[in-house]
Symmetry: C2
Subunit: 174 residues, 2 copies
């Protein structure tokens, strides 16, 4: 998820690590804070895999900057990760939002639509958080008000997202 965000932001324009950190924090930081000690090793991993290159520049304000630029392989890698997301990128909302945040980088509307349809298929599966045997329970069947809350909230999200997905898929396919 972090690597996807790094690739995604650098796809637009080269950035140094500190600026990258601020952008990632703005995108997902209020939900999942990004530690510097996670970001810098991730950058190194991507550099080692030749997905990005770094160039040292004198710091504009303070210490020298390492400006990060995606390589051609890095650009391919982002498109690949967007076009064929890991199942977790589809099911986990945090990861899914990161995919969505950069999905415009897929040039092909059909490819974008295919990704949205994967999420649609996931949301259309009858799934709950609580079961009676195999049967998914509805909010009304639960005594526990907190568990009822989970279902109420999840249902609201799901409805909103289904509506948006169907509209957006239609507008892409049009």
């Amino acid at each position: 998820m972090l690597e996807l965000a790094i690739l995604g932001f650098l796809y637009d324009t080269p950035l140094h690590g500190y600026e990258l950190r601020k952008r990632i924090s703005a995108l997902t930081g209020h939900v999942k804070p990004v530690a510097e000690s996670t970001l810098y090793p991730a950058i190194k991993r991507l550099e080692k895999a030749d997905l990005l290159a770094r160039a040292t520049e004198p710091g504009a304000v303070a210490a020298p900057r390492h400006v990060l630029t995606l390589t051609e392989a890095g650009r391919r890698e982002l498109r690949h990760r967007l076009a064929e997301p890991d199942p977790r990128d589809i099911s986990d909302e945090n990861r899914w939002f990161t995919v969505l945040a950069f999905l415009r980088h897929l040039d092909d509307a059909a490819a974008q639509s295919a990704v949205l349809r994967r999420r649609l298929a996931f949301l259309e599966e009858p799934a709950s958080f609580f079961y009676d045997g195999d049967r998914p329970l509805r909010a009304e069947e639960l005594d526990d008000p907190f568990r009822r809350g989970i279902l109420t909230i999840a249902r609201a999200t799901s409805r909103a997202e289904l509506t948006w997905l169907r509209e957006t898929i239609a507008s892409l396919g049009g």
Copy 2:
């Protein structure tokens, strides 16, 4: 999050690892699958910390089972983790849902309410995923349809949850 789920399920009744795995999979598995190679080491960690004890029983169907029971320290630990959740348990929906799933185990309505109010405070902060400088952007201000989707969906979730939180806090407060 995994440890919280283990403690939460065992708070009700002793279970063996395999059954625990099925319950955790039902609860969060459709979003975040639980690997056995994550669960068993987690059980060991909790055992080592004296939060749970294991007793070997002949297997009802196949191999022998290790029935896991929370110790008194384990029960205290669950209540503590519920009463004073990590900030990430509040901000990250996956973790938050796990807290909610077991929040009934806090005996005190005031303590439950305090936890809900922490989530309420988090949701009431003006946060977005996209900014113009410091100003959070609204869905209508974005060109990118996918990023607009993120805000649309997040807004719908947030509204539903705020409503539910306020209602539930009111009903707890008497």
